[in-house]
Amino acid sequence: MKNIKKCLPALLFCMGAALLIGALFLIFRQFADDRSTRNTVRELQASAEASPESVSFSSTPAPPENTRAPKPEPSASPEPDPAPTENPYRDSFLANPDMAAWLQIPDTVIDYPVMWTPEDENYYLRRGFDGSKNQNGCLILDTDSCVDPLTTNLIIHGHNMKSGAMFGTLKKYEDEDFFRNHRTVILYTEKCMRSYEVIAVFRSQVYKKSESVFKYYKFFQADTEEEFNDFYENIKALSLYDTGVTAAFGDRFLTLSTCSYHVEQGRLVVVAKEVESGDSYLPLQTAEDGTL
């Protein structure tokens, strides 16, 4: 009994040391993953910025509060579509065919590639752009969403990282002032640039299969006006504040989803409505011998 009493402090100390080593290992690994993500994304961004056709929205001023941009008056002779330009993210698309798009929210750190792997939705959940293990993972386009042909709703999932990486800063949208200054979301797909305006921000959760409730993550395609209205009315009702943005059957949405801790299986959701299609891009082409 005495031996046990003598050994107990040492035993506790060893346990504490083991736990501390484990914690330090995890922290170190997270730092390494953060650095790896930053470096990879910077390289890809640099490649896009170097593109002669690159478009930067970082200096785009936010629209004044409660004002909407006037719609252009229809003209008698519609202007011809601008000629296709080279995709600024051409190199990234060619570097990894799993990349479905590039997501950018101007003046935020959200400026990442979006991966799409229909055969395994979670493949990039804990993998970097190059496929190596990485706790930050990548942004994931839901397997039921599709950019070509475009579904009514594109759902993008991303980790809510404490470092702010991926969708770690998405929770800032719970603040209405943040929304007013960051209402635009840009999605660069292989074929064109799509511009969205945030229409609703709300908290939700992943529900059980048996539960008959509104599940934002089940809406991808609206074939009827009723389906569209069901989604639209629900997101507007759930929204934390009135964005002043409305939608009608035929509009398309982009839904950004990340974990939230207000309930078990909680999610924070930012839904944006497509407002315009920007540049259309030239096909991604490689030289005949396959070199880029």
Partner: protein, 281 residues
Amino acid sequence: MKKIRKLAGVLAAVTALVLLPKASVLPAKAAEPVTYAVKYVSDELGWRFQANTSVFDSSNNGREMYYLMQDIKDGDLVVIYNDSDNASDLNLGNVHLSNVTYVQGCHFTIVFAGGVDDCYVLGGSSGTMNCDVKNAYVYDTVTFNFNNNVDNLYLYAADKFNSNLGVSGTVGHLTASTLPGQEPYRVAFDYYDFPAGALYFKDGAFQPTASGYKTPEEHAQQSPQPQPEAPQPEVTQTDSPDPSDEYDEVPKTGQNSLYLWLLLGAGICFTGSFLLRRSEG
């Protein structure tokens, strides 16, 4: 020394609770049954509800059903109002309700639920109930069908039965009588053990679609036997969890906080070790 032992015991318990997050969660006990008044609101083209009341206040439209679906639980009560002929189905999920009432004059309403203890169908109502019912009470003239089994079916009318009523499942006991307390009290029908789909009333006339039901005498003479049941989905006993209790498959996008728990555990271990050493010294 006793103090140190106590302290070490408390530290050990805290460590266990910290390292086993699930153990630190105390499940809440089931809440009291809640009464919901639900109504089909034509202007909204959907069902709306109001909680903690059996009367739907038409001065406001109530809340949308998905809020109810988040809160409704076994044992709750639902009172149904519907004055529209175009109401959509009322799906109350898989909960087992203690009471479902179709109010007087309720227009045709199709209800789905996991089960009902007491179902009241008041005069002038019409609709269907799609789950097993323990006790069904049907008043005056209705147009109604129970699509699953009913243990006890009580029909009440002041004078004459005019209902169109059917049960697609089995019925354990049928009683048709004047209203309780009414004088003179008369019983028109008293039968037992209807096979699935056998019980049917057309304009109040008893028109069994199959033989096999029993009089009270036959029922009393018969030794208990397993009852035939309406076709039910086969349930196999396995150790795997009920798929309906699983969460939808959505990518898990939370950050692993294991390192925080490890740091906390390490801190507690170091503190415990330090205190034990000091007490020995």
